[in-house]
Amino acid sequence: MLHYLKQEAQKAERKAAPVVIENVSRRKFLGGAVAASGFVLAVRIPDAAALEPLTPYPTGGASMPHGYGNASDPHVFVSIKPDGAVTILAHRSEMGTGVRTSLPMVLADEMEADWSRVSIQQAVGDEPLYGNQDTDGSRSMRHYIQPMRECGAAMRQMLETAAAAKWGVDVALCRAKAHHVVLLDAEKNDTGKKLGFGELAEAAMALPVPARDTLLFKTPAEFNYMRKGETKITDLRNITMGKAVYGADVRLPGMKFAVIARPSVLGSKVKSFDATEAKKMAGVEDIFEMEGVHEVPRKFGQLGGVVVVANTTYAAIIARESLVIEWEQSPNASYNTDAYFKEMSKTAAEPGKVIRNQGDFDAAWKGAKSTFTGEYHMQHLSQAAMEPLCCVARVDGDKAELWAPVQSPYGAREDIAKALGLPIENVTVHVTLLGGGFGRKSKWDFMIEAALVSKKLGGTPVLLQWTREDDIRHGFYHTTSVERIDMAFDDAGKVAGWRHRTVAPSILSTFAPDSGYQFPIEYGMGFVNLPYDIPNLRCENGQALAHTRIGWYRSVSNIPRAFAVQSAVAEAAHMLGKDHKEFLLELIGPDRTLDPKALGFPEDFWHYGDPYESFPIETARLKHVVNLATEKAGWGKPLPKGQALGLAAHLAWHNYVATVVHVDVKEDGTITVPHAVTVMDCGFYVNPERIRSQVEGAAVMGMSQALYSGITFKDGAVEQSNFFDYNIATMANFPKIVDVHIVEPQPGRNAAGVGEPGLPPFAPALANAVFAATGKRVRRMPMGAKVA
């Protein structure tokens, strides 16, 4: 995400290897393997057809900062000890998606390593070496499946080559299997002779990496771990025992603890402060002012304020409460949520900047037999990961070392080097586990703060802790928005015209002078790329200036777009007396691959940063997930009073997702969700178990934002502060059963993003179900826990 923003700103646990085992009594006896019981197990050697060449497909990973680095090089990513212990680097950040397991697993599978002998090491922030490390934008698997497979295949072939040299045989007779290379006879049968990976490691690592076009990859039938969903996440045991290390669990000798009092309104500076009382408090060691970055755009510059350093986190927190600070006024003090919605609504009623234009919407509107207008409001959101921001820093002389739960360790390293005036080589960024991220932890303001505090303390290591209140009040918020959709229906009750106006402060405002208009990334998220068969279609963007820091939050603009579009489609179907599912399928239209040019997509259409050809939009896939989700949910089945199904389908990160939510509205109006079904067509996939967990979690997060969560501003300050007023779903009311169905990939359907796309359809499906159950249409998020 950040990368695109930079561009834009310039313009403006483990199981033994499940090797295939067969009862040898049914097969030709293979030398040596005689068990005392007479029951003989042997490893089957797959034939040559088990491996295939794969033509690489281009992705946007190559144009990310530092591209793919040396991500396909086993010398960088793999090490093998003489005893056969394999270590694989994880260069992306683990925030709950399972990526720290899934990517190394891809490599391990492709190289035929035994997962029980693999350990994972977290890489430091070093993109020139590892390739881009921005763990956001649902990109880790989408961009790194290929290089990790290449890396694994290369390692396997290097091990086989090393074995061939040792045995003095043709490499074609050497086949890697289950942490060994086995020697085959001329008929390609196992001779029983084998060498362990550990015995071959040194010679293998001395070999050059084979050229990409000589690499052979496993066919899916030969996968040991990929597609199986049987590999436990690597940190599982540690997590259950309290041993997993998150940001604030890093301890350094002599480490102090710090918190910062920041301005409640963005841009206000410290006028004066009185620390007399605070300094008297037990455990307090130092109190000083930190200058904020006030020139616009602020990017990830620190907010500034007053720093309290103490010998425990608690001492720092309570001393901060005794500070008396006078703040200067900021122009952002005029930001009030109610007034801002009125303004956005007014803007949405007027023509905006035309972003996509196809056919003649105005003519369709004039000639319409009937029309529909729907306006959908959404409040700001805070990512509110369970782990509040925190960072341990030691800035000693001309060396800086930081430990943090950060999604973008290298971007952070670059900026910290700048903030400290150090060459980047002198800055090391270690990545701990992240207690959730959702986009907030790819903004490293908190790390710059920690570095500056340690520097000011003359090199004393410090743990800078954000309290939950700090997290809720000083965020980079998901935008707030008004999305307005106008539809014109012809005599046959078909949608002849569609106009979508979006009004929302842009993320770009954090990175470039604020024009009030959005930019291609936001346009590309379910706005200009509407895949419906409508002859006259116009997308417009109205101006909205930002008064707080706008950032990205899991799924970004797809959330308000899916909410608006999927609600509007259901509303229109109801108005026309049509079945929602049938109407949706009709809108998607015939099976086809969209031609962005012919459909009037903007010249600079942003396709999640990827080449369109690698991930073309195929309507048949969208229809398929709609059909499957409705079928699995029992669409059309009679339900008791107060219960109904609601549907939504959305394409994001090249992942086709349909969700059906079953609501049960209780007598007092309380909305409950006994069941939800999500069907996902994410192309080539690796770890179905973690995909399911992502979708289950997305249902809970979707329910949170549909019903409860909202950030509002009064006089420029955030009105919420903790989980008692910024509410999320709890065990008292959550989507009880979430069925996840993953569509088996056809060849050529490349790996799409998974972490985010499960989220956008949930809220509109819920709203549509509430309408179907009660007749009450809710056009705002959050809608409240009860139907009024």
Binding site: E13, E94, G96, T97, G98, K232, I233, D235, L236, R237, I239, T240, M241, G242, K243, A244, V245, Y246, A248, D249, R251, A282, G283, T312, T313, Y314, A315, A384, A385, M386, E387, P388, L433, L434, G435, G436, G437, T467, R468, E689, S693, Q694, E696, G697, A698, A699, V700, M701, S704, F723, F724, I728, A729, T730, M731, A732, F734, K736, I737, V738
Partner: protein, 150 residues
């Protein structure tokens, strides 16, 4: 001076008796398995056992624990084989994992007093333990699974 038994070990603390156990455990005793999520008793990430009952360590002071026994996630079992921990692994409950020490401690205390909890019992007892990643379906299922073994 307060005396507290933490995971079977007797410890003394002569600092501010109003210090919440959470910060005593994390910053003084060096037991970082107990997590800070809200500091206001509304998220459950800091859940520990005080004389066997689940409490929020951010809302329980050292003074309140004087003479009592504390168990943290590190002390729930020596080998990580408490039935709740096992069930959590069996069902691959965690996503980011940050809330899970609190969830496990809460679930262990629930099962210690009620080895056959109903859905309502689970919802009531666990509703103060937030999971932003949204692992509730699996937490619920894991408690059911562990109930067979507690």
């Amino acid at each position: 001076m307060a005396t507290i038994t933490v995971n079977g070990e007797s410890r003394t603390f002569d600092g501010d008796p109003g210090t919440p156990l959470l910060w005593y455990l994390r910053d003084i005793a060096g037991l970082t398995g107990t997590k800070y999520g809200c500091g206001q008793g509304v998220c459950g990430a800091c859940t520990i056992h005080l004389d066997g009952a689940a409490v929020r360590s951010c809302m329980t002071t050292v003074e309140m624990a004087n003479g009592k026994t504390i168990t943290t996630i590190e002390g729930l079992s020596l080998d990580g084989e408490h039935p709740v921990q096992k069930a959590w692994r069996e069902l691959s409950v965690p996503q980011c994992g940050f809330c899970q020490a609190g969830q496990i401690m809460q679930a262990a205390s629930l099962l210690a007093k009620n080895n056959a909890p109903s859905d309502t019992d689970i919802a009531e007892d666990m509703s103060g333990n937030l999971c932003r990643c949204g692992c509730y379906q699996r937490i619920h299922a894991a408690i059911r699974l562990a109930a067979g073994g507690v």
